[in-house]
């Protein structure tokens, strides 16, 4: 019997943040928190479902900078150190909460066990590199792991520079191949940002499918007969899937989304802020700045209640909520699938539900439980099944040819999140860097005839350019938080690039300085600057 296919897409991404010259760097916590709260919990879910012999599928993008960070030994060591400290703190909390409140005490014990298990999985099971875990489940056929463009650069703003687009895609493909051992079949375009013509570049690199937001299909050059509920293929033979607006809204709309439930854990109340300074000092940033620890004792309670009146969190109650929500979502998908099956006269609808992976666990602590319960209960369901994108690409026999419309998944559907008064100044530099990169690369178009120090400088220029292009910096400037870090990162990469450019053009390479920059901006060790010759 035909069924509705639910295609979850988890987009796992963080900008490349690695400062080897510091033992602690606050922004490196972005990665550490995501490992503890999202990536390892997803791996745990995979192991459990597998051991229960529940068949399930989903697609997950792990972006090249995230892959590079997860595979970086220095960051792995820093993470282990951080977790050891955290476990020490959790032990203190267990004894301290004994006299405070039974609910707090119960959670303290939960955290201690949970952190220990997570560190065990990280250190002992995967030997520090959890990418091997994701690779394992890809090879077993449960999940699609797909790539993204090199540093999550916003491709529509590179439209006039084909070589910049090619470099973003080429590096994205190569980095994936290095870590996953095969070529990527699919790509998640940074910010889901597409413009007509981009598919041509994807086809050049053998990419078989990508994703767009709903209106990419709604406003396409010809109307897709089945709306967003079947993939299409572009004139360049690349498959495209479009986001289902209903699924997105049901799960995480700001107004009615599941994470707003009062039983879920409150993100803001963290003992990093709640405990007295002297006690917490060894576990926050060494500069003395209070930071989140990951130990939290309060629940959302209700949206309107002030932070200091939040009630104590109970993990069992929250688990129950996540289960209820998973079943509710399942019911909604059943209803949607039957409705669409009717309309489509038996042709199977494909319902695409993309999310930031970090929503599950990091922003919404119980998100991984929700996901796991959904997968568990979808198994054997009469109306729906979970699917991954590559399976659909493999079985589709007839597909409509459509060029999707320019679109992103940003607020209002276009480019304003990455181009507004807070961040428009960056593009003069980003564009100029591409031109200078191309110029310098053309001067040394044959790498075998290029002196090794010049080659190294050119490669480092390419790294600086790619790092400057991360869409995250523009995004952070828009959200008006951590702005200084984002501004500094942008300017730093521009400055280092220009410094290297001057060295290359003058032919005088300061080897000490070059080696230093190579050390502090150490993404993509095998990069090849000649990709900027592909104009």
């Amino acid at each position: 019997m035909p069924k509705g296919n639910i295609l979850f897409v988890l987009h796992a991404h963080l900008p490349y943040v690695h400062h080897p010259q510091y033992d602690f760097f606050l922004e490196e916590n972005w990665l550490f928190e995501a490992i503890t709260e999202t990536y390892v919990p997803i791996l745990r879910m995979l192991r459990r479902l597998e051991s229960e012999k529940k068949k399930f599928s989903f697609t997950m993008s792990i972006t090249p900078p995230l892959m590079e960070m997860l595979a970086n030994e220095d960051l792995q060591q820093k993470y282990i150190k951080r977790m050891e400290k955290l476990i020490e703190l959790a032990e203190k909390e267990v004894s301290r909460t004994r006299s405070e409140h039974p609910k707090k005490h119960k959670m303290a014990k939960f955290y201690l066990e949970d952190f220990k298990e997570i560190l065990y999985i990280f250190k002992e099971v995967y030997k520090g590199n959890i990418l091997t875990g994701f690779k394992e489940y890809m090879e077993k056929g449960f999940v699609d792991i797909i790539t993204s463009n090199a540093t999550h650069g916003f491709l529509p703003f590179m439209e006039q520079y084909p070589q910049a687009i090619r470099a973003q895609i080429e590096q994205g493909v190569k980095t994936y191949e290095k870590h996953m051992g095969i070529k990527p079949r699919g790509i998640w375009l940074a910010e889901c940002a597409y413009f007509p013509g981009l598919d041509k570049y994807l086809a050049e690199y053998g990419i078989e499918y990508f994703f767009v937001d709903s209106h990419g299909f709604w406003y396409a050059d010809e109307r897709p007969r089945y709306g967003v509920y079947r993939p299409v293929v572009t004139p360049n033979n690349v498959f495209v899937f479009a986001r289902d607006p209903e699924s997105s809204e049901q799960v995480w709309s700001a107004d009615i989304g599941y994470p707003g439930d009062g039983r879920y854990r409150e993100f803001y109340r963290d003992i990093g802020f709640d405990r007295e300074y002297e006690y917490i000092k060894p576990y926050i940033d060494p500069s003395g700045v209070r930071t989140n620890t990951g130990i939290k004792y309060h629940k959302v309670t209700s949206k309107d209640i002030p932070q200091n009146q939040k009630e104590f969190y109970d993990i069992e109650e929250a688990r129950q909520a996540a289960k209820e929500h998973a079943l509710d979502f399942l019911k909604k998908k059943e209803a949607q699938a039957s409705h669409l099956l009717n309309l489509f006269e038996g042709l199977e609808p494909i319902i695409v539900a993309p999310f930031d992976a970090e929503l599950f666990g990091h922003w919404w602590f119980e998100g991984p439980i929700f996901l796991e319960e959904f997968m568990r209960n979808a198994y054997g369901n009469k109306y729906i099944r979970t699917m991954k994108a590559s399976d659909i690409v493999d079985i589709v026999e007839k597909v409509q040819i459509v060029t999707p419309a320019a679109s992103t998944w940003g607020a209002n559907g276009y480019n304003e999140v990455w181009l507004n008064g807070s961040n428009d100044w960056i593009y003069l530099h980003l564009h100029e860097l591409v031109e200078k990169m191309t110029e310098a690369a053309s001067k040394y178009s044959s790498p075998s005839k290029t002196p090794v120090e010049i080659r190294r400088a050119l490669n480092q220029m390419a790294r600086e350019l790619l790092l400057a292009q991360s869409s995250d910096w523009a995004f952070i400037m828009t959200t008006n938080t951590s702005v200084e870090y984002a501004v500094n990162r942008t300017k730093t990469h521009v400055k280092r690039f220009l410094e290297l450019y001057d060295m290359v053009i003058s032919g005088k390479i300061d080897m000490g300085r070059l080696s230093h920059i190579e050390w502090i901006d150490d993404i993509f060790p095998e990069i090849d600057y000649t990709m900027y010759l592909k104009v």
Binding site: G257, A405, N415, D472, K491
Partner: protein, 274 residues
């Protein structure tokens, strides 16, 4: 934006017994109203009040924002504190690359962003224009046209002050249209002389296609089929586009602790559908 660290530095500086001139210039830098006749202790008083106010504001900020957790999608509300300048020095990058450039970038179906940069030659031409010469941006709708300078569907112009502006947001009437811009000046006899011409920029579409056909690919038989379209089987429910001001409001709500991080992310990821 002031932060704890900057305020602390300012206080230290104030205690280092600066001269009246230094005091006045610093106060002006901070945007304080300095009167010409002010005495040294009056300026000090002014600055002390400013410092107190800032400290109070920082304190309040820290109260409403108990979290410093950050992630790129969810960066920390604790400004400054999180920041270490990796090079431990102020990062200065060029303001111009001395190259002629007029770049259009699509913002959304009705807005285009435009920025420019000049070569030394162009800068010379522009600064040597007779007194009172006006500089204009011309915007051409050149959808499906090979533009030759005077065959645009429509031409718009807007005066710009290149002395104070380096970029501009243009409100354009047509989605899914090709635009081209020129920056130039108007001669005494009323002719527009273009100095720079931009790249071509297509605004994104915001409405369903009028096309009445469907093209299909039969993958097994490797055959293309063209059929008339009866329209989509499933009708979309479109969202009215929000405004950028709404976005600002939502960002503010999160910064002030009135809404959660995941809610802001949800909005920033809401596309046209949710």
């Amino acid at each position: 934006m002031s932060s704890d660290g900057n305020i602390k530095k300012l206080r230290e500086w104030l205690n280092s017994n600066p001269t009246i001139q230094e005091l006045k210039s610093k106060a002006k830098e901070l945007g304080l109203k300095v009167k010409r006749m002010m005495k040294k202790r009056e300026v000090i008083k002014l600055m002390e009040n400013y410092i107190k106010k800032q400290e109070k504001m920082n304190e309040m900020e820290n109260k409403v924002k108990p979290s410093s957790n950050s992630s790129p999608s969810h960066p920390t509300p604790e400004k400054q504190k999180s920041i270490k300048n990796p090079e431990q020095e102020e990062i200065i990058i060029p303001e111009t690359y001395n190259k002629d450039k007029l770049i259009l970038m699509p913002v959304n179906p009705n807005w285009i962003h435009l920025y420019w940069d000049f070569s030394d030659d162009t800068r010379k031409i522009l600064s040597n224009l007779p007194q009172g010469t006006r500089i204009f941006l011309r915007i051409y709708d050149v959808t499906y046209i090979e533009f030759n300078g005077n065959n645009a569907h429509r031409t718009y112009e807007i005066p710009v002050d290149i002395g104070i502006q380096k970029n501009y947001y243009l409100n354009v009437p047509m989605p899914n249209a090709d635009y081209l811009a020129e920056l130039g000046y108007v001669t005494r006899d009323g002719r527009f002389v273009a100095v720079l011409r931009s790249n071509l920029c297509r605004t994104p579409s915001n409405s369903p296609s009028q096309s009445t056909r469907e093209r299909w690919l039969d993958i097994r038989k490797k055959r293309k089929i063209v059929t008339p379209s009866d329209g989509p089987v499933v009708k979309e429910v479109e969202r009215i586009a929000g405004s950028i001001f709404k976005l600002e409001k939502e960002i503010y709500k999160t910064l002030s602790g009135k809404s959660s991080r995941w809610q802001l992310i949800s909005i920033l990821r809401s596309g046209r559908g949710i």
